[in-house]
């Protein structure tokens, strides 16, 4: 993941060349071996294409689909029916429409059509399926697999039913399979490194945070689902043109389990993982099958025929792998990110390019003057009234402090403003447009940024990628996103975090990174939910500095929830006090702290002492 955004050509090149070299090696073995070995190698390559197809969706989205082999089935049947000789069509699929039966497409055309049909099917199926929740997608895709199987197995006049199809021309050679596998790898890596791929990876890392930077979950999942479907269709089409036979169980549950296992064992987050997993498991499996069919191991131990032994052996190897390396053989890294390369002195992470500080850090000039305005917001959770008729106005360029005791409803109000919670009553408007009930992603795209009480970083992405993906969420291209992100990091004095994966940063850095990420969407309004909580004193001061900078440079309106009164006093010319879901007071800090009701309900008698002590 890391590196690719960095104009770090060496790293990206290694990530691309290593899987291609592996494929080349496999092709070489097939081309120089016996015909039976060649057949096995072609099947391995076809499987590899399907596994890479799975990686595109599963690896980048982090959501398991059990349905992708349904697209392999579709691709295989389309390719088979397009190329079946006329004499066999009459026999096997009498109901086939004439224009298909008469089509005499070659291997290339039929494979391309298979890819197209699979992609269309994925689009049609994905439209409803991607609407189901993250936890439901595995099962709803599974249901899709069963539906496809059931249809193919019973639509006798078109598919040949359970008996399947035979005498399909065997046109897939080892060279063609290798080429297609290379194409699949290049496509998968290209997708992963495009803004769309990064946006999907962000949803894998944290769905909520991804929404806050304008990423539309369903849209990104759809794109990967379709690309994945097309690749699986290609794999299915090529495989059937190697074996010459096809039936409904060819790409059913067994193949689903095999390919998913290959992906996970290799390391699902990386394309390299897909390639290595597919090859490694296939090789082990072939070896075990040889043993199963009776073999002399080094001429010492002689094993008789014992069907089932190979599967037991493979199962044990899988168990051991998962227990020892739960992230798979590659740990989910691309070749250019492997640490041993680094140790060998390969420049995996080159120094950053000089940031173009002034480019992109300023929000685009948006003509419409206005404000973020909430009117008479009320909300209850299971009978507990959390917000009662709350009004709030945040002007561009101002800093508004939102304070109140725990449970006053501050975070809930921010959730309502940013679209994470729909109010029972009341309206929210953004620059004069009513946006009540809009999704967080849509609000982000309209210029509303926010951070969370938890830092919610994208742990497997680097600091730079975390911030750049914020810009990508707003539709920025790669180059522009990197420019914006570098600019924001430089302005916030966080460039040291650029190359570090967010998951291995200390909590304070993650939190500051969260602010940087929210700024990368170039918001007009920024809602900060207790940004200083859990920060050390030094980090707290750095944050205060950052917020001052933000105010000066970025010119956005800031709503600041903060318990540390010294920060509030320093930064906020205007403060709104919430208590028990009501607005208690809005005013200048000194007015607020002089208000007896505020002191009574929230600040307590120690408050003034505390402020005096800090001042």
């Amino acid at each position: 993941m890391s590196g690719a955004l960095f104009r770090s050509r060496p790293s990206a090149l290694v990530s691309l060349l290593v899987p291609l070299a592996l494929i080349g090696l496999v092709v070489l073995v097939g081309a120089t071996g016996t015909p039976s070995l060649e057949g096995t190698v072609i099947q391995i390559l076809c499987n590899l294409i399907i596994v890479v197809g799975l990686q595109v969706f599963v690896g980048n989205s982090g959501v398991y689909s059990f349905g992708q082999l349904g697209f392999a089935t579709a691709g295989a049947y389309v390719a088979a029916l397009l190329t079946l000789p006329a004499a066999f069509i009459l026999l096997q699929t009498p109901g086939l429409p004439h224009f298909i039966a008469g089509a005499d497409s070659g291997p290339l055309v039929s494979t391309l059509i298979a890819a197209g049909v699979s992609a269309l099917l994925a689009a049609a199926v994905g439209l409803p399926l991607m609407r189901t929740s993250t936890l439901a997608i595995p099962i709803s895709t599974f249901a899709f697999l069963i539906v496809i199987y059931n249809v193919v197995a019973n639509w006798d006049r078109i598919t040949g039913g359970n008996a399947g199809l035979v005498s399909i021309p065997t046109t897939t050679g080892v060279g063609a399979a290798g080429l297609w596998a290379a194409v699949a790898v290049v496509l998968a890596l290209a997708y992963k490194w495009l803004p769309s791929g990064y946006r999907l990876q962000a949803t894998r890392e944290d769905e909520v945070a991804a929404g806050s930077i304008g990423i539309g979950l369903m849209r990104e999942r759809m794109i990967a689902f379709i690309l994945s479907g097309a690749l699986c269709g290609i794999g299915g089409a090529l495989a059937v043109h190697q074996s010459g036979v096809l039936n409904p169980t060819t790409f059913y549950f067994g193949a689903t389990v095999t390919t998913l296992t290959m992906l996970v064992v290799g390391g699902a987050r990386s394309v390299l993982g897909a390639v290595i997993g597919a090859i490694a498991i296939a090789v082990v499996n072939e070896f075990l099958r040889g043993v199963e069919n009776g073999a002399d191991l080094l001429g010492v131990i002689s094993i008789g025929e014992a069907p089932g032994l190979a599967a037991i052996g493979l199962g044990l190897i899988l168990l051991a792998t998962m227990i020892a390396m739960p992230n798979g053989l590659t740990g989910g890294r691309e070749a250019g990110e492997l640490s041993w390369l680094h140790r060998l002195g390969w420049p995996v992470r080159p120094p950053l390019v000089e940031p173009e500080v002034n480019d992109g850090a300023r929000p685009a000039e948006r003509p419409a003057p206005g404000a973020l305005r909430a009117e008479r917001i009320s909300l209850a959770f299971a009978g507990l009234q959390v917000l009662r008729d709350v009004d709030l106005t945040l002007e561009p360029g101002e800093v508004l402090g939102l304070i109140g005791p725990n449970g006053a409803g501050k975070t809930t109000l921010v959730n309502v403003l940013s679209g994470f919670q729909r109010p029972d009553a009341g309206t929210v408007s953004l620059d004069g447009t009513a946006v009540t009930g809009s999704s967080p992603a849509r609000l982000a795209r309209r210029g509303l940024g926010r951070t969370f009480q938890a830092a919610l970083p994208f742990p497997h992405l680097t600091g730079l990628e975390n911030v750049a993906v914020g810009a990508m969420g707003m539709g920025a291209g790669r180059r522009r996103a990197v420019t914006i992100a570098t600019g924001v990091l430089a302005r916030l004095d966080l460039l040291r975090l650029a190359t570090v994966p967010a998951g291995s940063m200390p909590p304070g850095s993650q939190r500051l990174l969260g602010v940087a990420r929210a700024l990368a969407i170039q918001p007009r309004y920024l809602l900060l939910d207790e940004p200083a909580a859990g920060l050390s004193e030094e980090e707290g001061e750095q944050l205060t500095e950052i917020l001052r900078n933000v105010l000066a440079d970025f010119g956005c309106g800031i709503l600041l929830i903060e318990h540390d009164m010294s920060i509030v006093m320093k930064l906020c010319p205007r403060v709104q006090v919430l208590d028990d879901g009501r607005t208690l007071r809005v005013g200048a800090p000194d007015e607020v702290q002089a208000d007896p009701a505020v002191i009574e309900s929230y600040l307590g008698s120690n408050f003034l002492v505390a402020v005096d002590a800090r001042a």
Partner: protein
């Protein structure tokens, strides 16, 4: 009217079977968050216990089968699932698939890959007439067993200390641990019960079909997963609703679909869960439990 009643009883019996499968899967899912694909193999192994113990009194064989299910589940938990308990979803998934493959192929090696027939008590295939309805005795057994299991599980979960810890663990595993719930124990108990439920399903399937095969667990486990999800994630009794719904739907569609569409019954049955998940993303009883706090 009689005909409808007949179909309804058949449908309810199939729904009960599915509910038992889903219940076994959801028990493990709620405390561990793992989709246990090896559940089908627990079903299969219990059925093979009946096959191996043919000749013993049937009641003894059934008791042994239930014990087999529990023990195999406990063993799998200890050897395979405990080490990946904190790994991510995909590692758990592959682990359970590996366990399934190992168990299935041990039986293939030890017995045979082909189906074997098992003799069951003759009384089961007879029918009893109630108010004009001819009810196969096996359906009585299925319905009765489901009622007993549901009652027993309800009692365990809501009337005992162990049940309280299990529900707490299902609600918030980490918090439950902090409050002193012993994770190993709760998970082991869940697996033991889950294994026994699988075994009960295995016994019922043998009674119904009179045979066993290494792959007999596959279809039940697939149906079970779908039932769990449409019932609602982590909702123990949601699984029962999901199972009943799926069984009743499948059974009635088999009767009432026009002839030409009957082969496509499964395609229709499995489209329904997708529709449910579109409109109720967290399942029928799911509510908003899956939503992260922000």
């Amino acid at each position: 009217m009689t005909e409808l009643g007949q179909h309804l009883i058949d449908a309810l019996a199939l729904g009960s079977l599915y509910a038992l499968i889903a219940l076994g899967i959801t028990l493990v899912y709620t405390v561990m968050g793992m989709m246990n694909f090896a559940h089908g193999e627990f079903i299969m192994l219990a059925a093979y216990a009946l096959y191996v113990l043919a000749g013993l009194p049937f009641g003894v064989a059934v008791a042994a089968a239930l014990l087999t299910g529990s023990l195999v589940a406990l063993l799998a938990e200890r050897v395979a699932f405990r080490p990946v308990r904190n790994a991510d979803l995909s590692a758990q998934l592959v682990t359970s698939l590996a366990v399934a493959a190992i168990l299935q192929n041990i039986v293939t090696v030890a017995v045979n890959a082909r189906a074997q027939s098992v003799e069951t008590p003759a009384g089961l295939s007879e029918t009893t007439s109630i108010g004009g309805l001819l009810v196969p005795n096996l359906e009585f057994v299925t319905l009765g067993l489901t009622a007993i299991v549901l009652g027993g599980l309800g009692w365990l979960l809501y009337r005992t200390r162990t049940g309280l810890t299990m529900r707490a663990a299902a609600e918030n595993f980490d918090m439950a641990r902090l409050l002193g719930v012993r994770a190993d124990r709760v998970i082991a108990i869940s697996f033991a019960i889950s294994g026994a439920l699988a075994a009960a399903v295995g016994v019922l399937i043998v009674m119904q079909t009179g045979q066993v095969s290494p792959t007999m667990g596959l279809t039940p486990v697939l149906v079970g997963f779908v039932a769990v999800v449409i019932g609602g994630f982590g909702r123990i009794f949601g699984a029962v609703i999901g199972g009943l719904l799926l069984g009743i739907l499948s059974s009635l569609l088999g009767v009432y679909l026009p002839d030409g569409l009957v082969p496509f019954r499964d395609a229709i049955v499995f489209t329904v869960p997708v529709l449910i998940l579109i409109f109720r993303p967290h399942g029928l009883l799911g509510g908003e439990v899956g939503r992260a706090r922000v």
